[in-house]
C-alpha cells in the first residue's frame, strides 16, 4: 500500500475512532439527563434537578471534545480525499450541509441555554432546551450516518462522465435508504447503551464508596431502563444490518465470518472451531438454507445470490471495470473533437459502467479486507455487547429487589462494563469501515482513487499533530471527569 494512502486512511481512522469515544456518550448521557430533568419538571422534586445537573456537568465536559474531533472529520474529506470530494460531493455534501443547518445550530444554541439558562428561562423552556440539545445531537447523527450509509450502499445517483462525478437523482433514496435507517438505529442506540453504562458505572462507584447513595440508586434505575431499551433496539437493528450487509456488502460479511467458501448451510462461527450450523445462513437471509457467498466465491468463481441474482466474480468485475475505464478515457479524449468517437465511447462506457470503480483495482485479492481484524472485532463487539446487556438486566433486577447496594461484585462488574461498552463501539466501527475496504464507496470508488495530491510527509505531520492533541485532550478529559465524579457530593 502506498504511503500516502496508508497515512490518509490512518489519519481518518484515528480521527473517527477518537470522535467515537465522545459521541456515543453525548447521545446516551443526553437521553438519561433529559429524562431526569423531565422527572424534575413533572414531580417538582429538587433531587432530580440536582441529579440532572450533575450528569449535565459531565455531559458538558465530554461534549466539548466531541465537537473538536467532529470538525476535523468534515474537513478531512476535502483535505485528504480531494478526488472523493469531487467524485461524490454532489451527493455526499448535501447531508453535511443539512447537518450543519438543522442539527449543529440546534445543539450549539440549546446547549448554551441548558448550561446558562437555569433561572433565566422558565423550567419548561429549560427542559425543552435540554431535550433539544440531545435531539440536535441525534439529528446530527442521522445526517452523518446517512452520509456514511451512502458510502456503504450508494443509491439514488448516476455517474456523469461529462462532469466526472456521481450526481444525485433521488434525494429521498439517499436520505431515507434502509441502510441509513438501520445504521442510524444501530449506532445511536449503541450510544444509549454507552451513556447508560456510564451512568451505572459511576453510580456503582459511589455505591462501592458508600457515597451519594440515593442519587446512585435512582440514577441506575433510569439508566438501566434507557440502556435496556437501547440494547433491544440495537440488537434488532444489528440483525437487520446483517441482512442488509449480506445483500449489499457480501465481502464484509464473509470477512466478518472468515467464510472462505459459500454455502446454503453456512454456520455461524463463535470462535474458530466452534460453530452453530445454519446460523449464518439464517442471520444473513432469514432462511436457514439461504446461500451466503464466501471470499472465494466473491473474488474468483462468482455465484448466484439468495435473491437469485447472478453475481460476477471479482476478476470478471475488474475486467469489466478496466473496459469502463478505457471507454471513459476515450470519451474524455474525443468529447470535444470527434462526436462520433465520443458517442461510441459513451455507449461502450454505459455497457460496463456498473463496474467502473473496479477498474482501479489490480487483482481480485485487493477486494478482500483484513479478515482477522474484521473477524475478531465482530466477535468482540458481540461478546462485550452481551455483557453490557447482562449488566442492564442485573441492574433492573437488583433495583426491583431493592438490593442495588448489596453486591460489590455487581458494582465491580458494572465498572468493568464501562471500558467494554467503549471497546464494543470501536469494534463496531472497525467492522463497518475495515470490512468495507478497499472501497471508499462500496463498488464505486476504491480508496486509492479518492486521494488528494499531497506529499505523504504533510499527512504524516498533521497525523502526528492530531494524535498528540487528541491524546492530550483525552487525558485531560478523563482527569477532569474523574475529578468531577470524585468531588461530587449530592
Amino acid at each position: 500500500m502506498n504511503e500516502l494512502l496508508f497515512l490518509s486512511r490512518f489519519q481518518f481512522a484515528l480521527t473517527a475512532c477518537y470522535h467515537w469515544l465522545f459521541v456515543p456518550l453525548t447521545l446516551g448521557l443526553g437521553i438519561v439527563m433529559s429524562v431526569m430533568e423531565t422527572l424534575y419538571v413533572r414531580s417538582g422534586d429538587d433531587f432530580w434537578k440536582r441529579t440532572a445537573q450533575f450528569w449535565q456537568k459531565l455531559f458538558g465536559i465530554n461534549f466539548a471534545v466531541g465537537v473538536a474531533t467532529g470538525i476535523i472529520l468534515e474537513f478531512e474529506f476535502g483535505t485528504n480525499w480531494s478526488n472523493y470530494s469531487w467524485f461524490v460531493g454532489d451527493i455526499f455534501g448535501a447531508p453535511l450541509a443539512i447537518e450543519g443547518i438543522l442539527a449543529f445550530f440546534m445543539e450549539s444554541t440549546f446547549i448554551a441555554l441548558m448550561f446558562f439558562g437555569w433561572g433565566k428561562i422558565s423550567k419548561s423552556a429549560h427542559l425543552a432546551s435540554t431535550w433539544l440539545t440531545v435531539i440536535g445531537a441525534t439529528i446530527s447523527a442521522w445526517w452523518i450516518l446517512v452520509a456514511n450509509s451512502w458510502m456503504q450502499h450508494p443509491v439514488g445517483m448516476e455517474f456523469n462522465p461529462a462532469t466526472v462525478r456521481n450526481e444525485m437523482l433521488d434525494f429521498f433514496a439517499v436520505a431515507f435508504s434502509p441502510t441509513a435507517v438501520i445504521k442510524f438505529s444501530h449506532t445511536v442506540l449503541s450510544g444509549w447503551m454507552t451513556g447508560a453504562v456510564f451512568v451505572i458505572a459511576v453510580s456503582c462507584w459511589y455505591l462501592l464508596k458508600g457515597r451519594n447513595l440515593e442519587m446512585a440508586k435512582r440514577s441506575i434505575k433510569v439508566a438501566a431502563i434507557v440502556g435496556l431499551i437501547g440494547s433491544l433496539g440495537c440488537m434488532g437493528a444489528g440483525d437487520a444490518s446483517g441482512v442488509d450487509i449480506a445483500k449489499h456488502q457480501p465481502m464484509k460479511l464473509a470477512a466478518a465470518e472468515g467464510l472462505q467458501k459459500g454455502s446454503c448451510e453456512a454456520p455461524f462461527s463463535i470462535v474458530p472451531g466452534i460453530e452453530i450450523p445454519h446460523m449464518l445462513s439464517f442471520l444473513a437471509t432469514h432462511d436457514f438454507n439461504g446461500f451466503v457467498p464466501g471470499i472465494e466465491d466473491i473474488t474468483r468463481s462468482g455465484y448466484t445470490s439468495h435473491q437469485g441474482e447472478v453475481v460476477l466474480s471479482g476478476e470478471e468485475k475488474i475486467a469489466e471495470g478496466k473496459l469502463a475505464l478505457e471507454a471513459f478515457k476515450r470519451y474524455r479524449q474525443f468529447r470535444n473533437s470527434d462526436p462520433a468517437c465520443a458517442n461510441q465511447a459513451l455507449a461502450d462506457f454505459n455497457a460496463h459502467k456498473a463496474y467502473f470503480g473496479y477498474g482501479y483495482l489490480d487483482s481480485s485479492e485487493a477486494l478482500v479486507p483484513n479478515v482477522p481484524v474484521v473477524y475478531w472485532s465482530f466477535r468482540l463487539m458481540i461478546a462485550l455487547g452481551c455483557f453490557v446487556v447482562l449488566i442492564f438486566l442485573l441492574s433492573l433486577w437488583l433495583a426491583y429487589r431493592k438490593q442495588l447496594e448489596k453486591f460489590p461484585l455487581f458494582h465491580y462488574a458494572a465498572l468493568l462494563a464501562l471500558p467494554c461498552v467503549y471497546i464494543a463501539g470501536q469494534c463496531g466501527w472497525i467492522v463497518a469501515e475495515v470490512g468495507r475496504q478497499p472501497w471508499a464507496i462500496q463498488g464505486l470508488l476504491p480508496v486509492n482513487a479518492g486521494l488528494s495530491s499531497l506529499d505523504a510527509t504533510n499527512v504524516m505531520a498533521t497525523t502526528i499533530i492530531f494524535a498528540l492533541i487528541f491524546t492530550a485532550l483525552l487525558v485531560a478529559e478523563i482527569r477532569i471527569m474523574t475529578r468531577a465524579i470524585k468531588d461530587h457530593h449530592a
Binding site: 465536559i61 461534549f63 471534545v65 473538536a68 470538525i71 476535523i72 468534515e74 474537513f75 476535502g78 483535505t79 485528504n80 480531494s82 470530494s85 469531487w86 467524485f87 460531493g89 454532489d90 451527493i91 455534501g93 448535501a94 453535511l96 443539512i98 447537518e99 450543519g100 443547518i101 438543522l102 445550530f105 440546534m106 450549539s108 444554541t109 440549546f110 448554551a112 441555554l113 439558562g117 428561562i121 432546551s129 456523469n160 462532469t163 462525478r165 450526481e167 444525485m168 434525494f171 475505464l325 471513459f328 478515457k329 479524449q333 486509492n448 482513487a449 488528494s452 495530491s453 499531497l454 504533510n458 498533521t462 492533541i469 485532550l473 485531560a476 482527569r479 477532569i480 475529578r483 468531577a484
Partner: protein
C-alpha cells in the same frame, strides 16, 4: 428556478455564512484581550464567560460554511482544502484548541492549568481570523492549482496544487496578509464592541472604548488598502463559453454592474463606521449592532463580487482556464434544488438563535453573577 439562479442563490448563502462568520469572530477578537484588557482574574473570567456563551455559534457557522460550500461547490472543496492544505489544517488546529479551552479551563484536574487553556483561546483568537483572512484572500488573489478532470481516467487527482508549500505560500502573498490582518483587527474591534455591550460593568467600559479605538484604526488602514487595491486591480472574468480571461477593474465593474451589491457594501461600511461612532463619540454600549450588521453586509458584498457577474471566485495562477467559477464548480441542478428546499428552514434557525441569545444576555454579565453562579467557565 433556473440552474444559474440556483448557483447564484447558493453562492449568496455561502457568502452570507461567510459574512455572519466574520461578524461572529468577535469571539476570537475578544479572546485576544483576555490578558491585555482584563486587570484581574475576575475580569478575565467575565471576558471568558461572555464569549463562552457565543463561541459555539461562531464555530458552528464555520462548520456550516464548510458543509454548505462542500454541498454546493464541491470542486472548491476538493481543490482548496486538498491544495491549500496547511492553511486549512492550521485553522482547524486552532479551532480544536478553542473548542475544549472553555469547558476545561477552570475545571479541577485539567492537567495543563487555566493559563494554558486561555492561551489556546489567544492562539485561536489571532490565528483563526488571520488564516481565514489569508484563505479568503486567495479568492481575489488566486492560487496555484490545476484542475484536470481527465486525470480520473488514470486514477490520479483531479485538482492538483502546483505550489510545493501546500498552502503556506498563500501566507506569504502580501495582499492575502493584508486581508488577514484586516480581519484580525476587525475581530478585535468587534470583540471590544461586543464586550462593551455584554459586560454589565462600568469599570471596564473606558478600557473597552480605548480598545475599540486602538484596533479600529489599524483595521481601517488595512481594510482601505485592501479595498483600494481590489477596486483598481485585474480580476478573472469568465464568458458564456466558460473561457476565462483577465479583465481590468473587474471587481469595480462588478460593483457598478450590480448596484444593489454596491449598496450593500456601502451600507455595510457605513454600519461599521456608525458602530465605531456610537462607541467612541456617543459612548454608547450598542455599537456592536450596527458594526456587526455592517460587517456581515460588507463581507457578503465582497463575496458576491468575487462570485457573481461571471467572475472566477477561485482564480488559478498556474492555469487560468482551471479557475473556478460558479458554473464549473457547483453541484448538479437537482442537488442545488433539493438543498434550496431545505434552506427554507434557515429563517426558523435564525429565529431560535436570536431568542436564545436574548434570553441569555439579559441583563449582561456582572461581577456579582460571576461570584455567585456555579455555571461558569
Amino acid at each position: 428556478m433556473t440552474y444559474t439562479l440556483l448557483q447564484e442563490y447558493w453562492w449568496f448563502l455561502v457568502s452570507l455564512l461567510a459574512g455572519l462568520f466574520v461578524f461572529l469572530t468577535f469571539v476570537q477578537g475578544a479572546n485576544t484581550m483576555i490578558f491585555s484588557l482584563a486587570g484581574n482574574e475576575e475580569e478575565r473570567q467575565m471576558i471568558v464567560n461572555s464569549t463562552g456563551r457565543k463561541w459555539e455559534l461562531t464555530f458552528t457557522t464555520l462548520v456550516t460554511f464548510g458543509g454548505a460550500f462542500f454541498a454546493s461547490f464541491p470542486l472548491f472543496y476538493s481543490t482548496s482544502f486538498g491544495g491549500a492544505y496547511w492553511v486549512w489544517m492550521l485553522i482547524l488546529f486552532s479551532f480544536i484548541l478553542q473548542a475544549v479551552a472553555y469547558e476545561f479551563q477552570s475545571k479541577p484536574g485539567n492537567v495543563f492549568g487555566t493559563a494554558v487553556y486561555r492561551r489556546f483561546l489567544l492562539i485561536n483568537g489571532i490565528c483563526g481570523p488571520l488564516l481565514v483572512g489569508i484563505a479568503v484572500g486567495t479568492f481575489f488573489n488566486g492560487a496555484e492549482f490545476v484542475v484536470n478532470h481527465d486525470a480520473m481516467g488514470d486514477g490520479l487527482t483531479i485538482s492538483t496544487w502546483t505550489g510545493c508549500a501546500h498552502g503556506l505560500e498563500a501566507v506569504l502573498q502580501p495582499w492575502n496578509l493584508v486581508l488577514g490582518f484586516a480581519i484580525v483587527m476587525l475581530s478585535r474591534t468587534l470583540g471590544a464592541l461586543y464586550l462593551q455591550n455584554n459586560l454589565n460593568d462600568e469599570a471596564m467600559q473606558e478600557r473597552l472604548r480605548r480598545a475599540v479605538f486602538a484596533n479600529a484604526l489599524p483595521f481601517l488602514v488595512f481594510f482601505l488598502a485592501f479595498a483600494g487595491r481590489l477596486l483598481t486591480t485585474q480580476g478573472w472574468a469568465v464568458d458564456e463559453q466558460g473561457v476565462v480571461s483577465l479583465e481590468d477593474y473587474k471587481y469595480l465593474h462588478n460593483f457598478l454592474e450590480m448596484p444593489l451589491v454596491l449598496l450593500l457594501f456601502l451600507i455595510g461600511v457605513v454600519g461599521v463606521l456608525a458602530g465605531l461612532f456610537m462607541s467612541l463619540v456617543k459612548k454608547s454600549r450598542c455599537g456592536i449592532w450596527p458594526a456587526g450588521a455592517g460587517t456581515t453586509l460588507t463581507v457578503l458584498s465582497l463575496f458576491l463580487i468575487a462570485g457573481w457577474n461571471n467572475t472566477c471566485y477561485y482564480p488559478s495562477l498556474t492555469d487560468m482556464q482551471s479557475s473556478l467559477h460558479l458554473a464549473n464548480s457547483c453541484s448538479s441542478e437537482f442537488t442545488l434544488y433539493a438543498m434550496t428546499l431545505v434552506s427554507i428552514l434557515i429563517p426558523f434557525v435564525l429565529a431560535y438563535i436570536i431568542w436564545a441569545w436574548r434570553s441569555l444576555d439579559v441583563p449582561g454579565i456582572t461581577r456579582k453573577e460571576m461570584a455567585q453562579t456555579d455555571h461558569k467557565y
